[in-house]
Amino acid sequence: MDIRIDQKTPIPAYLQLVQSIKLQIMTGRIKDGDHLPPIRDLAKYLRLNPNTVARAYDGLEAEGFLESRVGSGSWAKLPKAKTDSLRLGLLESECRTLLEKAFALGFHPEEIIKTIDKVMHHEENRTGNR
């Protein structure tokens, strides 16, 4: 699992975790039905308090991305009904983050759009027009 918790942002660690796992599930990096690591192991790996991980798992479960069974652990789920709106929601929040940073750097909207286009073209070229 490719998760990185950014210490610097004010976004709480558990939230970051939730978002990250959600993203991975939605992008298919984590497949529906995959076994998610136990809280302890993930906590060890991320150097997080297990409570934090537990909170994240609870949050994921509440949103339908996780299913846990006592004794067996936790499984990833892809809640079909929610996917699209969630995907959109995620994209919007990422955009917001990007825009915040861009504004903080003092860029104007036109410059931002121009840059996005540029980068998108780069990515398309690189990944072969996905």
Partner: protein, 283 residues
Amino acid sequence: MKKIVLETADLAVAFGKKQVLQGISVQFPAGESVLIAGKNGTGKSTFLRVLAGVIRPDRGKVVWADDMDRRRIGFISDSLSCFEDMTVSAGLDLHRRLYELDGVPRPLLDRVHIDGKQKIRSLSLGERAIFHLTLVLAQKPVVLMIDEIIHHMDAYTRELLIEALIETVDSLGTTVLMINHTFHDVERIPERVLLMKDGRFVVDEKTESLQQRVKKVTMETDWSTDLPILFQRDSGYFHEYYVYPFTEEMRQNGSAFQDLTLPEILKAFIGGSYEAKRTPLGR
């Protein structure tokens, strides 16, 4: 609302004329991980020692939950005190008998290659830390109090410590109180931060909220503002201003407020010699 497993009521300790702890009242719910930070000499170790029962307070009480079993209170002091002349095995055995444990699991010791026949005196500080950790974890502690031992440990042993801590918290729901001011690797584990100054806790907040309420502004010139500046650091080129308590409205001010990691936040508090005001802090 979680169960309060430990609380203090107006705890005060004085050594001679010096008042080391000044009437501390604080509660610790079960399963919480707490970081106790502060400058040297502000009374953190004393506080922990009072909780562990090593020092009796002059005033106030330490109140444990009703069903608390003393044998399940784990304490590692920063002096890592133990009986030097004993062998490791003897020390484990002594601990086992004194705390009436079934056994002392040794995997940690094996991982740092500590042999049972070694004398405790011959252990390095890092090894000793692992030794004490072994002792204390064998108690299956409900509350674990660890004084500043991290700086004795190299990266590997530190990792062991963190893993062991995480495991304990996960499997036992241990309440962990750690004194730490070096912030190596463990800064993500605590959920709550207590900053001690002059025998009192001047900051008592969740780490999450703390990160939201402390921001930094970097300027090339002097910055006169009426925002609450916690701490100011001037190097040759930059002036860094740490703002606390920060609210989102302040962004309208226009300045670029940078987010901080927990260690940076704590350094700002300590460097700024933050004084708690009488009124609760914006809660």
